[in-house]
Subunit: 289 residues, 2 copies
């Protein structure tokens, strides 16, 4: 039987500091064609951050045309990686051209990224696109938009999965299988029926636990968390200090309202860096030259 | 049966931006006592980064005395979080006082952290402590010390777990259970018997897979990786761009030589930030005041 299993894919190492074959293909297409469907198909194969670079290199309406031809998920992820003012321009173009598609893209996006875009959009566009979404998504996004961008609440996403402490591992596995949680999520929150945090459980401990074990036995009941109003740079410092991969955000009743993930924290630290350098330069160095 | 399972721990939310009860206890002890065993026991209860702050507030010999009374693992983690020059001073004290303990601490530490300390130690101390270690650990550390600190090789750790593609999930679970890999590790490398990377598998996919499925069927055969000589700031940029949680480091034969993890990358980005601000200030602003 071992001999008969399908031949696995040939191993392939991709050197991350070099341009990928997908990026080279897109560069070549942009130089030689303006065939939107062909370009859209190629951009779909790029990593989201690289697809965002491609879209940023196009005119706003052209970028909107390419996005419209892309698979929803790939388009949403690329849009989320674009610089905010450019992405906002593209979304506004889409709202005018194909409102339903604009709404679908924002729904397909991580909620924190969608909220960032909506916060930067003129109210007219924002309300149009929110009205075109399923009510549940619109409500969740309206809620996220309500938090100050500079706070933990403005940094968090609502894209988490919570389990109940009386579930068995088998039941939790089914919940995880059916939810499309981001691949990187390794700590799952355990909450009561009224949304209070009861514990946190690591995916690895679910793997090592017995299939009939209860989540309550595998979880840790002491949970580090942060309040929504905390400044996001303070949140970033805690991540750096304690090597968190994620941190739950809880209200004053210890109800889970979102999670902050390490990939967003890296962006904060880099933004902070740019700001600090600019402040320092602005404060004297330029005049001193 | 559900009713008879042991009562779970009471849920407890720890606000990360506030001082923990453990930190308050240590602060009180330092103010009122110099009883080393009592202090050591309290420091053991702190998070590693906080324990490091405590040790940094003590005189070098006092810090060494406290470490000697702490559990090996807690002591190693605290030492790894201390500022390098202070940690080096403490290790040198330990080498003179209790060489075996100094060696045990460095072995208990994450290999990349131990290598950082050894790189900064005078050769006499370094050779003494390496000679007091099990040969396997000493060889791995000598190898890590050989990489430029500013490169991916200098940033990586050898503390990873690799699986074989013909293992079943059940067999992999046993390997994971018996290895004490860091909790945060969610991507496991799949290698051939000669150390070449064949793929990467996510802990979550092991959980969702059947117990008799082969790792080869669950892994992804396209692996993003970096070469050991790449500058560590370039590595940090790739992490920020593509939201990696870890990245394997491979030699020119595609053999796995280590992994870089996101928590170390955050430190690099913060260091880089401090350096840049200092450079900018040094270049003009200070003179302009």
């Amino acid at each position: 039987m071992t001999e008969e299993r399908p031949t696995p894919e040939t191993p392939h190492i991709e050197d991350v500091v070099e341009a990928s074959p997908q990026d080279e293909r897109v560069a070549e297409l942009i130089e030689h064609t303006i065939d939107v469907p062909v370009l859209a198909e190629a951009v779909e194969q790029q990593e989201a951050a690289d697809a965002a670079d491609t879209l940023e290199s196009l005119a706003e309406e052209e970028a909107a045309d390419v996005l419209e031809q892309m698979d929803d998920q790939a388009a949403a992820e690329a849009l989320a990686e674009m610089q905010t003012p450019l992405a906002v321009g593209v979304v506004q173009d889409l709202v005018d051209e194909d409102l339903g598609y604009a709404a679908r893209l924002l729904v397909a996006m991580a909620p924190d990224d969608a909220a960032d875009l909506l916060q930067e959009m003129p109210v007219r566009f924002r309300e149009q696109v929110l009205a075109a979404m399923p009510l549940g998504n619109a409500t969740a996004l309206r809620n996220l938009i309500g938090y100050d961008r500079e706070s933990a609440g403005g940094l968090m996403t609502t894209d988490y999965l919570s389990l109940r402490s009386d579930m068995t591992v088998s039941e939790a596995v089914e919940v995880i299988r059916s939810a499309s949680i981001p691949e990187g999520l390794q700590h799952l929150m355990v909450t009561s029926s009224d949304g209070r945090i009861e514990g946190v459980v690591h995916v690895r401990d679910l793997l090592l636990g017995g299939r009939e074990q209860r989540i309550g036995e595998l979880m840790k009941a002491t949970v580090k968390a942060v309040r929504p109003g905390v400044d996001r740079e303070a949140v970033a410092r805690e991540f750096a200090r304690y090597d968190f991969s994620m941190l739950p955000v809880v209200d004053l009743d210890d109800r889970l309202v979102g999670i902050v993930t390490v990939d967003d924290v890296i962006d904060i630290i880099r933004d902070e860096q740019t700001e600090d350098v600019q402040k320092t330069v602005g404060a004297g160095a330029v005049e001193a030259v």
